[in-house]
């Protein structure tokens, strides 16, 4: 099958032409909730030119904020003398964001997704950050620390939409 003469939508063609190597960005922040502002700025500027619509960029920023907040509050229990590292890798397929910490493992995937109707009916609170991360990201992977892997890593992936060819 020869697709080489088929016209392609402009966005797909741009991606195919780019074939660029991944761009990598790294930031280390203190385990302090006051660092969330600069974290959001870093994520937004790192993924700004990926090709996501603005609304999706804002949602990815939110997902990373929620993930970092959970590590600081639950993993590090609000002790602010430790650090978290963010690694962002952007490609023509999308973005992978790793949040790496040395805290007590806190696996967000073990947090049960709430039934929101029940949640509101019984006026619950808390536990919504992980739910937001699930709603926003395409895949979530958690690698707890071990003897061979001394740090916890939460890996969040958001893929660019694939346009029909």
């Amino acid at each position: 099958m020869n697709n080489s003469r088929m016209p392609l939508p402009s966005l797909v063609r741009m991606h195919n032409m780019e074939q660029r190597n991944p761009y990598r960005y790294e930031l280390t922040i203190p385990s302090d909730l006051s660092a969330l502002v600069s974290t959001r700025t870093f994520v937004e500027s790192s993924i700004a030119s990926c090709g996501f619509p603005d609304t999706v960029v804002q949602q990815i920023v939110l997902a990373v904020d929620e993930a970092c907040s959970n590590v600081i509050r639950h993993g590090y229990a609000n002790t602010n003398d430790a650090t978290l590292k963010l690694l962002i890798e952007t490609t023509d397929k999308g973005v992978t964001i790793s949040i790496i910490d040395s805290a007590k493992p806190f696996n967000p995937l073990q947090v049960q997704a709430p039934d929101m109707q029940e949640y509101f009916r019984t006026f619950q609170h808390g536990g919504l950050g992980v739910h937001l991360i699930r709603r926003i990201m395409d895949s979530i992977e958690y690698i707890p620390s071990s003897s061979s892997h001394p740090e916890n890593e939460l890996r969040l992936v958001k893929l660019l939409p694939v346009l029909p060819s």
């Binding site: 909730l33 502002v37 959001r40 609304t55 904020d65």
Partner: protein, 117 residues
């Protein structure tokens, strides 16, 4: 500009709480304290104005869940008004419009309280 600030005013028996800046896990405790003070002063009809709020995360939404049951038990409500689209999106992603009335204009929220009086 400060990261997050709150201004308060009253209109008859309605408290209007206006949020400015970024409401996240760092600043949510400030909002929770302020809203708690308003309610402890006996105000149960509350409008939160979001016109100048640039950002909200789940910690900010959680503050509304802390107080909504209590104010409704006293025939009050927390009504939300004038959200920017990026803030509304977060409420919408979690289904909050199921529980909270959200108005484009603060005036409409005031009128709704008035019609319930």
């Amino acid at each position: 500009m400060a990261e997050f600030t709150i201004t308060k005013s009253t209109l008859d028996d309605i408290a209007i709480v206006s949020l400015h800046g970024f409401l996240d896990a760092h600043t949510a405790s400030q909002f929770e304290q302020t809203l708690g003070e308003v309610i402890n002063q006996g105000m149960h009809k509350i409008i939160v104005n979001f016109a100048e709020l640039e950002y909200i995360s789940s910690a900010g939404l959680g503050v509304f869940m802390v107080f909504i049951e209590g104010v409704r038990a006293k025939n009050g409500d927390i009504k939300l008004a004038e959200m920017q689209p990026r803030v509304f999106t977060v409420f919408d992603l979690l289904g909050f419009p199921m529980l909270f009335e959200i108005y484009e204009q603060q005036q409409d929220a005031i009128a709704k309280f008035g019609s319930n009086a």
